[in-house]
């Protein structure tokens, strides 16, 4: 399997990354180099094997916890916005989305 330049354009769009032509070309080579070593996975028979998402689930039951749906954090609007690129009157500024 080999990725094409069109694949790179499609993936970069999904990933929201701007890639100019030289970067896209380099990315294509690197990804194809990488997927060469991925091929060996195909030789493994994984029929009936349950995917492992939480590693210690091999040893003990891992339950996803839920906490009560109550506001437990103090209001930290200013601290939370201090590193934002553009803020006005406590709101995050973004380019116009709807005309």
């Amino acid at each position: 399997m080999s990725l094409t330049p069109q694949d790179i354009t499609r993936i970069a769009n999904l990933a929201r990354l701007e890639l100019d032509a030289p970067h896209a070309e380099r990315m294509l080579q690197q990804l194809n180099g990488f997927f060469d070593i991925v091929e060996q996975m195909n030789a493994v028979d994984t029929t009936g094997v349950e995917p492992l998402a939480h590693p210690t689930a091999v040893m003990e039951r891992v339950a996803l916890r839920l906490r009560d749906d109550v506001a437990s954090e103090p209001n930290q609007r200013e601290a939370n916005q201090q590193s934002a690129p553009a803020v006005e009157r406590g709101l995050f500024l973004v380019p116009k989305v709807i005309e």
Binding site: L3, D7, I8, I11, A12, L14, A15, R16, L17, E18, L19, M27, Q30, L31, G33, F34, D36, I37, V38, Q40, M41, N42, V44, T46, V49, E50, P51, L52, A53, H54, P55, T56, V58, M59, E60, V62, L64, R65, R67, S72, Q76, A79, N80, Q81, Q82, S83, A84, P85, A86, F92, V94, P95, K96, V97
Partner: protein, 503 residues
Amino acid sequence: MSHPSLHQLGVAELAAKLAAREISSTDITRHLLARAQAHEDLGAYLALNEEAALAQAQAADARLAAGERSPLLGVPLAHKDIFVTRDLPTTAGSRMLEGYRSPFDATVVAKLAQAGMVNLGKLNCDEFAMGSGNDNSAYAPAHNPWDRSRIPGGSSGGSAAAVAARLVPAATGTDTGGSIRQPASLTGITGIKPTYGRCSRYGMVAFASSLDQAGPMARSALDCALLLSAMAGPDLDRDSTSLDHPAEDYASELIAETSRKSSADGQESLKNLRIGLPKEFFGDGCAPGVQAAVRAALAEFEKLGATLVDISLPRTELSIPVYYIIAPAEASSNLSRFDGVKFGHRAAQYTDLADMYKKSRAEGFGPEVQKRIMIGTYVLSHGYYDAYYLKAQQIRRLIAQDFQQAFTQCDVIAGPVSPTVAWKIGEKSDDPVANYLADIYTLSTSLAGLPGMSIPAGFGEHGMPVGLQLIGNYFKEAQLLGVAHQFQLATDWHTRAPQEFSA
């Protein structure tokens, strides 16, 4: 005030002097801050906060003066710049987070502060912890104190360089695929990655959430045990994958062992220990100098009474593609939060919202991070998910089961950490796949979520340090630290300092 040898003292030694009131936390903090500045060219630190550090040191001195005693009170450390901190900027080694200030402290940072440790600053690392040489840091490479032309390993390279160069007695690191063990190995220090979920991930800038795990890096197993006792434990309200097991005291038993050892020298202290040697870790791919050092360390373990057992971890080679599918998949999802809106870099010029996202991310992320985002996005995209991501997770279970099979034959597993000693800065950057292959001995432990550590085992090619990897079963951190401690009672590799930093 000048104390020429204070920086040579480890955590336990400093704590003893602080408790005896022979030195003050303020003295040692000042001394280490000055030393950090004097060795700025090592690239270990990304930020220092003298004022905040001295305030913490004075607070520790006041507690000590009032008669309070606890094992870490007043001892300085520094944090990998992947842990968010209120007092210092957090960059994760990326331009994306240049100038970022967290509104809160990571749980690990808060817990060590509560234990009375003084935070000197933030340590260099590969961008978003992606890399094996610290040469993916957007700011500056960190240098190996044993040979400045070589990498200190990564991604916790600044942590390793700082501890090895005696800039700080201990540091935090994070390990996703080997990022504590490999730099510890390449700089001749001791580091442990505990069982996945043992230390809270709250406030650790996320790379791969099912793999990321924090751990201490220091100059001995005892010092690591002291830190880990304060770092580990449940954080159930803030980290959904934090394990619900109470914190442990890893250090007391080691301290007891030290006094037992001095009263009964020459005893076979590891008599009932079976050490498994995976044949896949001792093949042609490992440099002769590394193999020789590891074999010599294993012979030392035999002298201590341990039995060596041949085992097999048959899917070791598969851990490379499996890891490099799962980790980028999770990374592409985690890093989607960097959109130039709530925090992080925003491009100066753009046409619309989508263009702002794309330009901000292209400018903010370095090449390795972009590559992993691309890999992750691809393997999670429609039509490819089953073939790559799901398949990798299935093989991940087989890899974890292989370890459980191996642990029926042995108590701990040992082998090299890295197939080579530290390489020259820039030597591998053109061959990304070669970088991935060099992670072969550490990835499977991470995929299985097992605890693993690196302890200094001697020197290999070019006189560079070699680490021995010890892997334990789930929650066997105490056993691993105990085994490492016995080795360090019998050998002095962990006390060796690079020439330039030995005075």
